[in-house]
Symmetry: C3
Subunit: 260 residues, 3 copies
């Protein structure tokens, strides 16, 4: 299974071109659109979203992860293996939260060059055929499958890391179709009495939507484990005036005070 | 074939997660995105849209129908069989127009509990694996395929009904990509000289777009049998200032007056 | 492989209905969404976008190309074969740039009538089953596969042409998810010192995004060979106030002046 995590947009034509490129190499492979509207030009926000979604997929899944504002520039094209899942995309921090939460990871710099390599669409020209090869169980350490020679070389994992990034990202990383705003903070790191401050509002935790009145803003642990800011049967983005990138402040409530 | 009818949004990540959950159970099954932008939080409008679309699919089709503002609350998870098609989703009226237009229907309450059941995403955790089982021809009345025991129990169909809902819904239930506004009223219930009133305008019927001048507003019987409000080569939603939920008034013209 | 190029919108229900119609005839066929947001009601802009995308697909690919403001009117339903790729859709100019850049092309008028032919959705009722037949290698010149008789008759290619259309279209034909604005002009027809004028701005060429400062507007040869107007890490559409249809002026720079 190949899973697409990109900022390409759902309506086209980039996703379709990527799928056609995969189909040319691995025509029988299932391709799933996971996210087509990752935060554009924002590998950091995208990284914390990806880290919440990817571990739910089976071992062996190949992710095409392309949020790539530096395409055509100096960032390196990467293949990484983390917790038995594969990731193909630019080396720009997208994998940092996954690496940080894993005991180990390996990566290879892609040295293969396709016959056509546009300056602006490595997702189609470079990453898609590599992802397809991985899905076909052709790995970087195998003997080369392409006549051009070896297609990737092993590198120290430290090179892929962004040690200065936080464990969790205290800002909005995704607004969904309903206007719910996901933070980059794992709910498991927060207590039930944690208050989230955003856009001048202080929000208490609820278990789920039905636990608060219609129109009420709250935060909760979403189905992917992130702290999410929502309004019951409303749009949190418009109600609160927030967007991808809006910072949140985590207020770890003092129990004595909260309990009075 | 599994058909997705949801308000999840097309760009991600919810549809992709549902597809991955289906793929984990029924990897060879064809999955078709039918509607990803059903009226959010509005099972009633969604129900009349669904009833216009579903009967066109082959017998045996499994629909995942999730417009579920009450997720995590008291509504029951349901499997229903209506006119040899299967529907999996919350019991919140989504199937009422289909049941009303059918001679018979059966339903089962899903009692199976997955190992992981989030409070906000039953589409992925509960309904997707059930839909996949149905596509694999594993039915509620079969001996249990899961070790946990029986996965659904038969219930009287009356429990699923919403007897107080209308036969047709006289409001806008969907705005398409072009700005055309579908009502929840079957065109077959209207005569050629019916006038539809909406947003202070009185619209006559036309056969199709080309029959009226560019920029002209009209209604017609759309390709799914619903009365639809449109503007030739324009956007009815913006031109008329209408949205999902806008009421329409059906004015059944008196023939003697119209002819006279 | 069947490739969908339409103005139907990604979220539904039209694309899903087309896919279901294809699945009914050719259930094993791979279907790829290429463009779901082609310029609505604008076959001319769509045609120059299609011509940039289609030649990248393998021979034998079947394109369903439906941008069809005249549906239900007098335009003819067409099957065409150009450079070993198949196109199914309305005869309204969509194929003109492809024909102009090819040595040869053939077309057939679809005379087959499905049992159900709605007045507004020939994509589902007429073109999808034909595209599926082509993907199954059933061609217009074969003995009829449908009991209704022959499904297409050969016509002189000249009838499909739009001789008065330009070689390249000097206006915006597509705005992508990032706000980049594709023109209908092939970059290969322009020199490095060509200036593109749009919305009162004069834009120089760059190789790629990283070559200009953040927020800077420029044009470049995009990954599909079109001249594209962009802003590094910004949205060209909003920054420049442009949309699909905005005209561009190509200023072929005099070398002595530019260099002087």
């Amino acid at each position: 299974m190949i899973v697409l995590f990109t900022d390409f947009g759902a309506a086209g034509p980039y996703l379709g071109q990527v799928k056609a490129a995969i189909h040319g190499v691995a025509p029988m492979e299932t391709v799933i659109d996971l996210v087509a509207d990752a935060p554009a030009f924002d590998p950091m926000a995208s990284a914390y979203l990806l880290a919440a979604l990817a571990p739910d997929f089976p071992h062996g899944t190949v992710f095409l992860t392309v949020v790539d504002p530096g395409v055509g520039g100096a960032r390196r094209p990467a293949v990484a293996e983390i917790e038995s899942r594969w990731y193909v995309g630019p080396d720009n921090g997208l994998l940092e939260p996954l690496l940080r939460r894993s005991d180990h990871g390996r990566w290879w710099e892609i040295v293969w060059q396709p016959k056509r390599l546009s300056s602006s669409f490595h997702g189609r020209d470079l990453f898609a055929p590599i992802a397809a090869r991985l899905a076909l169980q052709q790995f970087p350490w195998d003997k080369p499958h392409w006549r051009e020679g070896p297609w990737a070389e092993p590198r120290p994992i430290e090179e892929l890391r962004r040690r200065d990034w936080p464990d969790d990202l205290a800002r909005i990383v995704y607004i969904d179709h309903f206007g719910n705003a996901m933070t980059g903070v794992r709910a498991s790191t927060l207590s039930d009495d944690t208050v989230i401050e955003i856009a001048g509002r202080r929000l208490a935790r609820a278990h789920t939507f039905g636990d608060v009145p219609v129109g009420h803003a709250f935060w909760y642990a979403n189905a992917n484990g992130l702290a999410e800011v929502s309004v019951n049967r409303g749009r949190a983005d418009r109600t609160l005036g927030i967007e991808v990138g809006t910072p949140v402040a985590i207020e770890y409530a003092r129990r004595d005070r909260v309990r009075g």
